[in-house]
Point group: C2
């Protein structure tokens, strides 16, 4: 029935494979990355690679989720949830925008978006370890802040999604469609500040 494909996450060369895959996927995209290239970059034979992963797609999913979870962890551990909302939002927004505008963040997004309709697993795995984590974490914070009387929010998860989207304004599409190659710190700050302003105008207490 439901064939559960087991990925062996241990082994002498598992990390090597994962890192090689990450680099090549990042450079060439999903279709663009050939398994031969990945094996070469990982310093591993193709046969070895296929002993760890049953499929090119599984390999990518593993890369993407690993990287997303790493980011989420990073964010969660570096943010002081007891600071005033403006400050928390600014920190979270900056961290978030920096990640999604990084080369790796861009490529993960590109590939997931492109392959999601033919290989739904890829998109769903990404959604679960990326956007969904951020939303859950933010909604949880909002709940506390509402409890403290710092914010007034009715729909917590919608508010979380809105903040995420606001942080992308302008700068992210320009990057995504190759209009710009890089983003300056000043641009990040400007967009995130404006996102915080907007968010607080709507959901700030009073």
């Amino acid at each position: 029935m439901t064939e559960t494909v087991q990925i062996v996450r241990k082994g002498r060369k598992f990390t090597q494979v994962l890192e090689g895959a990450r680099d090549v996927f990042m450079a060439d995209g999903f279709e663009g990355a050939s398994v031969d290239d990945i094996a070469k970059a990982a310093g591993v034979s193709k046969a070895t690679l296929y002993s760890y992963f049953p499929d090119k797609r599984f390999l990518f999913v593993e890369v993407a989720t690993t990287e997303c979870l790493r980011q989420a962890d990073d964010a969660i551990h570096n943010i002081d949830r007891s600071a005033p909302p403006r400050q928390v939002l600014f920190q979270v927004g900056t961290h978030f925008l920096r990640f999604i505008t990084s080369t790796l963040g861009q490529q993960i997004f590109r590939i997931c978006v492109a392959e999601s309709d033919r290989f739904p697993d890829i998109g769903q795995a990404f959604y679960a370890s990326g956007p969904a984590v951020m939303r859950r974490e933010m909604a949880e914070y909002f709940e506390q802040a509402v409890g403290r009387g710092e914010l007034q929010i009715d729909d917590l998860t919608l508010a979380a999604d809105q903040f995420g989207e606001l942080c992308k304004a302008d700068v992210w599409p320009r990057l995504m469609f190759g209009v710009n190659k890089t983003v300056t710190d000043a641009e990040v700050t400007r967009v995130v500040e404006s996102a915080v302003d907007m968010f607080m105008a709507r959901y700030g207490a009073q």
Copy 2:
């Protein structure tokens, strides 16, 4: 030097080719769509197809820009810019969200995002005929509304981008990553209304 590739936009079968391409790209994505399939769907020989377009990519760019411009036109002609801001925003937001969540809108976005880093022309052409048009049109409207004292906005284009992003919240990523297959009218309305609320809380006069 700069080789300007001329696309012959006239010819007995030009429209046929374009429509066949649109259908197949929509169904299979960029890599997934084979030129043979497109020719077959268009009811045209492959040789004929290649007499109109020098390249598979040019063919897609033509499809994408045509469709984006059609949408923009549609929006511009169907919106009453003299109505109160809330109403205008709601109309624009709904129209926009409906398009980007449509099958065609989704696929165009998918392909453009995926191919933009290897073929920057695709992304840039899309950006110019999609996001950039919407931003320009919105900023222009905002300027008038500010003149009438209905809105208070300092950075017109940023505000336009923010509104666009707000309309995507929640529903759009879920679609993009295959978590959901369709979107209900109720969901569209809910997200756009919330976007308008947020926008007005920040930029509404008084």
